[in-house]
């Protein structure tokens, strides 16, 4: 019965996803398309939850549905919020897409059945990871263990990627300066309610950061949630006050500090004659060394992601609307 319920939820959520994308193809008003994309991200987060991917659902909800929607709305403020109706549909594109789709459908026939425990993907490394996590690292969340310890190099690369994105947005847009005094629009209800909500959001971000070893969570989700608190403050109370709370100049330095924390944790193992990012060398007992290494590394990731996300938001919101001459 429970298995059928999972399948039923799976089937209906996927059908919703197709309907949402179909609706967003038809729409020309880009605000509507942005909101539909936010709904798409939320429904796909629910789908990930149904497929037992709790960390992924968390990240998709925070990043895809939360931050990307705000980012697209900020970009639409600086460009135009509608689409040119004449240039929308193309028969050649439809033909290409149908051809590619047919080829992919043909390839699907060889895929393993959904949920098959004997599929090739479950055979080699994955059972080892689950077993080794219990023996050598001893934290409940296997995904955090694999992310931070077994596949630590990839996560280091990802942290550098998000830092590079921050650098690229800085080069393109700059963080702007709020020149004239822009008082926020007066809204008593929002002002009163949002202040304790921001406190709750920040505490929740810290909780997610440090609880990532035991349940769903980790550095990425925590960084995004923590940045969302400040973005909410900036949206409700105006940029001028937000930039007084977190000055724009500190954010690139914090991002670099996050990447540096990650790298230095790896270097500490090199100093003890062990490979780069081998946490066993960080403490006398290998298991507590792993715990310390994962803690430091996730802190570095959280710091880098928080400052980069806030930096990107500052770049978009601080840009003045320039009308083309």
């Amino acid at each position: 019965m429970i298995e059928n319920l999972q399948l039923l939820i799976d089937v209906s959520l996927l059908a919703f996803l197709v309907l949402i994308v179909f609706a967003s193809i038809k729409m020309t008003d880009l605000f509507v398309v942005t909101m539909l994309f936010g709904i798409f991200s939320f429904v796909s987060a629910l789908l990930f939850l149904d497929l037992d991917a709790v960390d992924v659902a968390f990240t998709e909800a925070a990043v895809g549905a939360g931050f990307t929607t705000v980012l697209m709305l900020s970009a639409l403020r600086l460009t135009q919020p509608y689409e040119n109706v004449k240039h929308r549909h193309s028969v050649l594109a439809l033909f290409i897409v149908i051809l590619t789709g047919a080829a992919l459908f043909y390839g699907i026939a060889d895929f393993p059945d959904m949920g098959d425990p004997n599929a090739p993907v479950h055979q080699h490394v994955a059972p080892e990871y689950i077993q080794l996590t219990q023996q050598k690292i001893d934290i409940p969340n296997v995904v955090t263990a694999v992310l931070a310890s077994f596949r630590g190099y990839d996560t280091f690369g990802e942290t550098v990627v998000i830092f590079s994105a921050g650098v690229a947005v800085l080069l393109l847009l700059g963080m702007g300066q709020v020149k004239c005094k822009q008082e926020p629009e007066e809204n008593l209800v929002l002002w009163v309610v949002v202040k304790p909500m921001i406190a709750l959001i920040l505490i929740f971000g810290l909780y997610v950061q440090f609880h990532g070893d035991f349940g769903a969570g980790g550095g990425f989700q925590a960084g995004v949630i923590f940045a969302s608190g400040f973005i909410l403050y900036s949206l409700v109370f105006g940029e001028m006050y937000a930039r007084r709370v977190v000055p724009a100049a500190i954010l690139p330095r914090l991002a670099a500090l996050g990447v540096l924390i990650y790298g230095v944790t790896g270097l500490m193992s090199l100093l003890s004659n062990k490979p780069f990012l081998d946490y066993n060398a960080l403490s006398s007992d290998p298991v507590s060394g792993q715990h310390l290494g994962i803690l430091l590394v996730e802190a570095g990731v959280g710091l880098a992601v928080f400052s980069t996300i806030l930096l990107i938001y500052y770049s978009f919101s601080g840009r003045e609307v320039k009308h083309h001459a």
């Binding site: 796909s44 959904m114 689950i130 690229a168 947005v169």
Partner: protein
């Protein structure tokens, strides 16, 4: 019917992928192209997570009374992919804002027309 249900996720993934690809190719508005790209990315995420699902498994968080866990490896890969996706989207949107400021429009056909007119103008001067 049973055969369809076994591969249902994969069918929908291909449909979503192709719809995302269609949005990228067919629409001339740059923001909508980015949205289509994000749809394509999410469909690939769904494919990977479907691979990792084990029937009657539980999320890969070790507790005392579960035996079968879903595969944690695709989850790790997709976590990285989601963050890289948002990085790409933000750089893409920053580029679109600069294009808007330079050309005055974010419609791809209008931008190409303006570029062609500029080239023609420069050739005439030479």
């Amino acid at each position: 019917m049973h055969e369809l249900l076994e591969h249902y996720n994969y069918w929908i993934v291909v449909i979503l992928m192709m719809m995302g690809l269609y949005i990228v190719i067919a629409s001339s508005n740059l923001v909508k192209k980015l949205i289509g790209l994000s749809v394509f990315q999410v469909s690939v995420f769904i494919l990977y997570i479907t691979f990792g699902k084990v029937t009657e498994g539980s999320p890969p968080i070790i507790t005392d009374n579960t035996d079968v866990y879903s595969n944690p490896l695709p989850h790790v890969l997709i976590l990285t992919a989601i963050v890289v996706g948002v990085a790409t989207t933000s750089v893409g949107l920053a580029l679109i804002v600069r294009i808007q400021e330079a050309y005055g429009s974010i419609d791809e056909d209008e931008i190409h027309d303006m570029d062609d007119k500029d080239d023609f103008h420069i050739e005439k001067q030479v």
